[in-house]
């Protein structure tokens, strides 16, 4: 059995800098494809995981996307409020383990301040990491990544730090101006009493307050009769303001579909986050496919350019291969040397590109997670390994071209040059 490896090594060493350049180019082209693939999956998994505990969302009629982004990803988007009547009906909690109002629109040092119930905090966090849940209107629980410490007193600003901040609060204020009466003042300081476990959602950076606080600071009452200072359900339908959204935990799958149908009316809409995400993923999938096609085109161009370069390089070495033939090397030996040489360049590039792509996806994931709060972990999965495998297979197939061309070159012509 022949052994072309020493000659392959010698050929690689002969043009080592060019070989390194080729390997680098292949690695970058591979990394690009791997990063896009891994990143897209990380984005899907992260966003889906973040929405896991938001079973059914009831909101005012309108686009589901805005509500989803506001409630789950705490994106400061303007959303309509559910009417007080509908709010009262949903919060009654028929066929549900709980129904938690969600109110937002305020911030503290750029962190969103969200109003809800202690029951929802328990459901989202699955128990607290430290401290206890809020028991008074001026107490708060912070997300796992919040910089606020237990016992810290924080003042809440009206509106989010971002664009469109406070629109819902403004809307609430407008509602109030149309008939409501502010009962108490704004900017009531609150005390942090507990910290949630990591949820992998933007709620990890949030300050979660009783929904009563949210209503109170916007002069919308507390959802309870005057003098009733307990927090959480039951609320008094007579004193309930509207809310941007209500998260409902249905008692069963049947109840989930039943409630979704029940609240899809002229006054409200209801949806499972997953169904919205599926639509978004479909859109994202289309974008990913386009990007994938562009990446593939770029990779094919890189491989073609490299093959052209390799052909030129091998042409410069044609005398070396002719000498091997003159010394008695069979044609298959020369074929193997060139094929393995090209395969080694492509294989090395892919072997470097795979972790490089994973690293790039990891960096992008960390940046997105830092920006959105949605925890996402880029990983190398079957899709990326399949992509790398397909590139390798394509490369080895294309490597046949220079191998055949070199093997078929007339030996004597090369010896005479």
């Amino acid at each position: 059995m022949m052994n072309p490896l020493p000659i392959v090594l010698a050929t690689l060493l002969r043009n080592r800098f060019t070989a390194i350049l080729f390997v680098g180019l292949i690695a970058l082209a591979t990394a690009l494809g791997i990063a896009i693939s891994a990143q897209e999956r990380a984005l899907r998994l992260g966003s889906a995981r973040a929405a896991d505990r938001f079973d059914l969302i009831v909101a005012a009629p309108g686009g589901h996307n805005d509500v989803l982004f506001s409630v789950v990803y705490l994106d400061p988007t303007a959303v309509e409020l559910l009417s007080p009547e509908t709010t009262a009906k949903v919060l009654a909690g028929d066929r549900a383990e709980f129904a938690a109002p969600i109110g937002f629109g305020d911030s503290h040092n750029g962190a969103p301040v969200v109003g809800t119930t202690a029951r929802f905090v328990e459901h989202l966090s699955q128990g607290l990491a430290e401290g206890r849940t809020f028991e008074r209107m001026d107490e708060a629980v912070v997300g796992a990544l919040s910089s606020s410490r237990l016992g810290e007193r924080v003042g809440i600003s009206h509106g989010h730090a971002g664009e469109g901040a406070g629109d819902d609060a403004d809307f609430a204020a407008d509602q109030l101006a149309r008939g409501g009466t502010p009962e108490q003042g704004d900017h009531l300081p609150i005390t942090v009493v507990g910290r949630m476990k990591p949820t992998g959602t933007p709620w990890d950076r949030a300050i979660v307050v009783p929904i009563e606080y949210n209503w109170f600071v916007h002069a919308l009452g507390t959802g309870h009769a005057p003098g009733d200072d307990h927090i959480g359900p039951p609320f008094d339908p007579e004193h309930l303001p509207g809310v941007p959204a209500i998260v409902v935990k249905p008692e069963s799958v049947a109840a989930a579909y039943g409630l979704r149908n029940r609240y899809r009316t002229a006054d409200s809409t209801a949806f499972f986050p997953a169904e919205v995400l599926v639509e978004l993923y479909a859109l994202m999938g289309d974008v990913a496919r386009i990007m994938g096609a562009l990446t593939l085109a770029a990779q094919v161009l890189v491989v073609a350019a490299i093959l052209a370069g390799i052909l030129a390089l091998l042409d410069l070495q044609r005398q070396r291969f002719a000498v091997l033939r003159a010394l008695g090397a069979p044609g298959i030996f020369v074929f193997s040397v060139v094929w393995l040489y090209v395969g080694a360049l492509i294989g090395s590039g892919i072997a470097i590109g795979l972790p490089l792509g994973w690293l790039a996806a990891g960096i992008v994931s960390a940046l997105i997670a830092g920006q959105t709060g949605v925890a996402m972990t880029a990983s190398i999965g079957v899709a990326e390994l399949a992509l790398a495998g397909a590139l390798m297979a394509l490369g080895l197939l294309l490597a046949v071209v220079p191998a055949v061309l070199t093997y078929r070159k007339p030996v004597v012509d090369a010896l005479r040059t």
């Binding site: 052994n3 090594l9 004597v412 010896l415």
Partner: protein
């Protein structure tokens, strides 16, 4: 024990290449020529006379359009390229004007290179390769052949040609790239091979080498010149 040389002959051999117009240009047209073991045969003639082409035909690197190239009764001209490759590996050694070593490899690995054509491991040949380098006075410890002098590089090439103890040694202008002293060393090695019984065929312009040849074949436009000359080797 070194293998003895082979007897060979080229009979009715012709080789041509396409010309500028539709016609072909004859490079070699030889009625008969014979080679004997233990003989250093030089092929001489002006540039373009077909010396190297004749060498390549005799070594099976080219196949003639007609005629035979017979070595010990075997007509390699009638065999396929693969069979001629195997014959060359088993029976012939080749030495070039410009050495054509694998510069990135050590002298030892260069000598061992032909062993990889048919074996995964060159280990069985290491001792012989080392002995050949010692015999030709090449430092084995050099990491790359580029660190050697030109004379040493050609001696590595000669050691490479002798790895499988070939019966025939072909050399194409082996001293043309060397100074007189280094050339003398190579000529001595070629004469030594012939003295050991091998069939040595050398294309050369070198008067010193021609002077050492037992037989000189002169070519003119691809044909044998009027008569062969024998020197007093």
């Amino acid at each position: 024990m070194s293998r003895s040389g082979a007897s060979g002959s080229a009979i009715g051999m012709a080789f041509s290449v396409p010309g500028a117009d539709a016609s072909s240009r004859t490079l070699i047209d030889i009625a008969e020529i014979a080679f004997q073991p233990a003989t250093l045969t030089a092929i001489a003639g002006p540039s373009g006379s077909g010396k190297s082409t004749l060498l390549y035909l005799l070594a099976g690197l080219l196949a003639p359009e007609r005629g035979m190239v017979v070595w010990d009764g075997r007509n390699i001209a009638g065999e396929g390229e693969g069979a001629r490759d195997r014959w060359r590996r088993d029976h012939a050694g080749f030495i070039f004007q410009n050495f054509h070593l694998l510069e990135e490899l050590s002298p030892l690995d260069n000598v061992l290179a032909p062993a990889w054509f048919a074996n995964f491991s060159a280990r069985p040949w290491r001792a012989r390769a080392s002995a050949l380098l010692d015999r030709f006075g090449v430092p084995r410890e050099a990491k790359r052949t580029t660190f050697l002098s030109r004379g040493e590089q050609q001696r590595v090439a000669i050691a490479r040609a002798l790895l499988f103890d070939p019966r025939i040694v072909f050399a194409d202008e082996p001293t043309a790239s060397l100074d007189a002293a280094a050339g003398e060393g190579v000529i001595g090695a070629l004469a030594e091979m012939a003295g050991a019984g091998k069939t040595v065929i050398v294309v050369t312009h070198d008067p010193q080498l021609l002077a050492r040849a037992a037989r000189i074949i002169r070519l003119d436009h691809g044909r044998l010149a009027d008569r062969e000359q024998a020197s007093a080797a």
